[in-house]
């Protein structure tokens, strides 16, 4: 973290927040807590931020939980006692909600406890993960997020470290080869350009909804919970996004000289269908040649074995 060169928080605001946070209860001196506030402001606000912006952000901080977290990070017993009383159950519940399996959930939560306590020494000094908590959201929400991120990291690491035996057991050797990209049609480049342009024109929320629903396979309810709206709102938005995307893409294609009918056909054409058709054509050709060989060659001949071996 970059060093803090000058205080951007008014003294009276720092004192007010310090009093509100009960930092003294967790063994934090007012100066220490003011320094924590400076770190938060330095991290999330640009240097050119006005004092009003600083005050607004500081007013929105969860200062009581921030003081608790920093007290825990400093090894204050009182802070840990309160932390465990308040968040132990929350942490295990969150782990169970993520992993859905009791044993692994406990393992995940325990590993986070180790990080929170600072078991991993950094140059001989115990570093607690709680020092990264900045009070922008609730401590419980932060814990859930950290837990979820830990789980995702573990999952990705596990996927990278799958042994060959496990891959064999998983049937990797029988996996279908990645289909080769189809031969780009004459209109495909124009279509991709139009689609990319249409996707670029989407707003952040529209992209999130689109990706979460069509790529991640999230439910409408899950997306609605993440965006804090009702499920029906997400449904309506999805419909509207899809309709507008289609309209924009076809409009772009027709602008480049394609007829409307051709644009719609190009958009609706499934590349996988095209590949399947190519394969079918190729397969029928191969089958025909094999039959021809079977007719011409007799069993036991080298060509026949070669043919079996190929299969």
């Amino acid at each position: 973290m970059a060093p803090i060169t000058a205080s951007r928080i008014p003294a009276e605001l720092a004192a007010e927040l310090c009093e509100k946070s009960c930092a003294g209860k967790y063994g934090l001196a007012p100066e220490t807590f003011a320094l924590v506030l400076e770190q938060v402001v330095h991290k999330y606000l640009p240097v050119a931020a006005t004092s009003a912006e600083v005050r607004e952000m500081c007013s929105g901080l969860r200062v009581e939980e921030l003081a608790l977290a920093r007290g825990c990070a400093a090894g204050n017993d009182r802070a840990w006692e309160i932390f465990l009383t308040r968040y132990r159950a929350t942490l295990y519940d969150a782990a169970r909600g993520i992993v859905r399996e009791e044993g692994r959930a406990k393992e995940l939560a325990d590993s986070l406890y180790a990080d929170l306590y600072g078991m991993k020494a950094n140059g001989g000094e115990r570093v607690s993960k709680l020092t990264s908590y900045m009070g922008r959201g609730s401590l419980a929400g932060w814990l859930r997020t950290v837990l979820a991120r830990e789980y995702v990291n573990r999952y990705r690491a596990a996927r990278r470290l799958v042994s060959l035996e496990e891959q064999t057991e998983a049937g990797v050797q029988f996996a279908a080869k990645t289909p080769e990209p189809a031969v780009p049609a004459a209109n495909e480049s124009r279509l991709e350009t139009a689609i990319d342009a249409a996707l670029q024109g989407l707003g952040p929320e529209e992209k999130f909804i689109l990706a979460a629903y069509y790529l991640d396979g999230r439910t409408l309810a899950e997306i609605a919970r993440a965006l804090r709206v009702h499920e029906s709102t997400i449904s309506r938005k999805l419909e509207k996004i899809a309709r507008n995307l289609r309209k924009t893409i076809i409009s772009e294609l027709t602008r480049t000289g394609l007829s409307r009918q051709a644009a719609e056909e190009a958009l609706d054409a499934d590349v996988r269908d095209l590949q399947v058709k190519v394969r079918e054509c190729l397969g029928s050709t191969i089958a025909t040649s094999t039959e021809m060989r079977e007719i011409v060659q007799k069993p036991g001949s080298p060509a026949f074995h070669t043919g079996e071996g190929q299969e």
Binding site: E56, M57, G60, A94, G97, I98, S132, Y133, M134, R136, G137, S138, G141, W142, R144, T145, V146, L147, A148, R149, Y151, V152, L191, E192, I195, D196, L199, P204, E206, K207, F208, L210, A211, A212, Y213, Y214, L215, D216, G217, R218, T219, L220, A221, E222, R225, A226, E231, S232, S235, L238, E239, A242, R243, L245, R246, I249, D268, D270, V271, R272
Partner: protein
């Protein structure tokens, strides 16, 4: 929810290719991702994080995994979600329930607000010269004469009547549409109790006041206080309401006046019933029927009734000697009654003078007829009726003892009407009974409206004779019959 649309495969492939452009180390830290999930970032930071998420599958995965657990089942991608979510159904169900409840409360409240109305009706019949002094004297006399609990209750209630021209409900009654009496609370919905408490008291007060107000014109009889015996119309026989504040006692007048009814009088009765169409309490009609107390004949009737009471026969005979029958049976007040005792001929003159004030000749003739009947009527032990706990009870000893009439097992009676030896009682399940011969004969009158039977609770009953009657149902509907209950039509 509609199924998410499918996009062309080539579009998906180009999108996937664009995802590979993110380098390791360019990812937002856990703080930003957590802040994004919790929506605690500034708009600039949020936009930056979202842009990254749109391009980075790893960070999308982290964000998705770090979402707090939600118990609800998620819908797989590509599978249409439920068209109507459960919470939406529940929301509409709750809304519908609230609507039904509101409509029910409004209807119930409206019917209860329109309910008790005998006070003003009585005021309409108020005589031009309120004889407060006479009324006071008559009340005093009545208290002296009456030894039973009716008089005590009347004396207790009478002062309230002085301050009320119309019946007023307590705020609680207005709000809930039922009496707050500790003893008997009538609930129009459940019909648990037919007889009311405070509600009845209020009515008594109004009725008493109307009697006080009307006594002058009538020149007439003592306001008994307990009675409410003023009829809805001149033709309606009086029903004496007596009791201890939560009971209604119908005292049969006998058939002395049954032959006097005219169509016009029945019309007047109907008008009065319309005014009290939505009476909440089961006996609202009976209450209002006793509240009128307007004209001379009503007072005459009460005088006659008083004379029929046990132990008073001799006094009545004294007051109504054979030669001075008109004087005794004329509109009698306490003072005139006293005068009649002392000087029958003077009382007769007074009566003749008072009859000159009557509006029509018919009324005068009716009174003459009454006088004759009064003079010739054979005193009989009056039968008193009341409803307790949904059961009809009768008393032949001025309310000292009560015998329960087993009308129909399982049916809770809510209202009754006595006319001579006839009693009509209505209750739950659209039940209406015609009881004669002191409860020995009971005939159920089916209430058919169109094709189907009426199943609502009968909360008010009134009959002007054996053929003409009006009932009110718990839903505020008023039905009338002109053939003794063989057919009913909306009033």
């Amino acid at each position: 929810m509609a199924e998410a649309p499918k996009i062309p495969h080539i579009l998906r492939e180009r999108l996937r290719l664009q995802q590979a452009g993110v380098r390791p180390g360019e990812h937002p830290d856990a703080d930003l991702l957590a802040g994004y999930s919790e929506n605690s970032l500034s708009s600039r930071e949020r936009s930056l994080v979202l842009s990254h998420l749109g391009m980075c599958p790893d960070c999308r995965e982290v964000v998705m995994l770090s979402q707090p657990e939600v118990p609800e089942a998620s819908v797989p991608a590509g599978v249409p979600a439920a068209r109507v979510p459960g919470w939406m159904v529940l929301r509409w169900a709750a809304l519908a329930a609230c609507l039904v409840l509101t409509v029910g409360v409004v209807l119930l409240n409206r019917s209860f607000r329109e309910a008790p109305i005998s006070g003003p009706a009585g005021a309409r019949l108020e005589s031009p010269t309120p004889p407060e002094q006479i009324a006071k004297q008559s009340a005093d006399e009545d208290q002296r004469e009456s030894k039973n609990s009716e008089a005590a209750m009347t004396a207790k209630l009478e002062p309230q009547a002085e301050n009320r021209s119309v019946m007023k409900k307590t705020p609680r009654e207005k709000r809930f549409g039922k009496s707050s009496s500790p003893e008997g609370v009538y609930d129009g919905l459940t019909g648990k109790s037919a007889i009311v408490g405070n509600h009845r008291f209020d009515y008594f007060s109004a009725a008493a006041k109307s009697r006080v107000a009307s006594a002058g014109t009538a020149g007439g009889p003592v306001a008994r206080g307990v009675g409410g015996s003023a009829p809805l119309a001149p033709s309606v026989p009086p029903t004496v309401i007596a009791g201890n504040g939560n009971s209604t006692i119908g005292r049969s007048q006998g058939s002395a006046l049954e032959g006097e009814k005219s169509d016009g009088q029945r019309g007047q009765l109907a008008d009065r019933l319309v005014a009290q169409a939505s009476a909440p309490a089961a006996n609202a009609a009976a209450e209002s029927a006793t509240a009128g107390a307007g004209d001379a004949k009503g007072e005459l009737d009460r005088a006659w009734l008083r004379n029929q009471e046990p132990g008073k026969k001799k006094t009545a005979a004294e007051a109504v000697p054979a030669g001075a029958a008109p004087a005794a049976s004329a509109p009698v007040t306490g003072s005139t009654l006293a005068r009649a005792r002392e000087n029958p001929s003077a009382a007769a003159e007074s009566y003749r003078a008072s009859t000159a004030n009557f509006e029509t000749k018919d009324q005068a003739e009716t009174l003459t007829l009454n006088k004759e009947k009064l003079a010739t009527a054979t005193p009989a032990a009056p039968m008193q009726w009341r409803i307790r706990g949904g059961k009809l009870q009768q008393s032949s000893d001025a309310g000292k003892t009560w015998q329960e009439i087993n009308v129909a097992p399982g049916i809770s009676l809510h209202a009754f009407w006595s006319l001579g030896s006839n009693v009509w009682a209505g209750g739950t399940g659209g039940s209406l009974f015609h009881i004669t011969d002191a409860g020995k004969n009971q005939v159920r009158i089916p209430i058919k409206l169109g094709e189907g039977d009426v199943s609502q609770t009968v909360v008010a009953v009134t009959f002007s004779d054996e053929l003409h009657g009006i009932i009110m149902l718990e839903n505020g509907q008023i039905l009338q019959t002109t053939d003794g209950g063989k057919s009913w039509e909306r009033h």
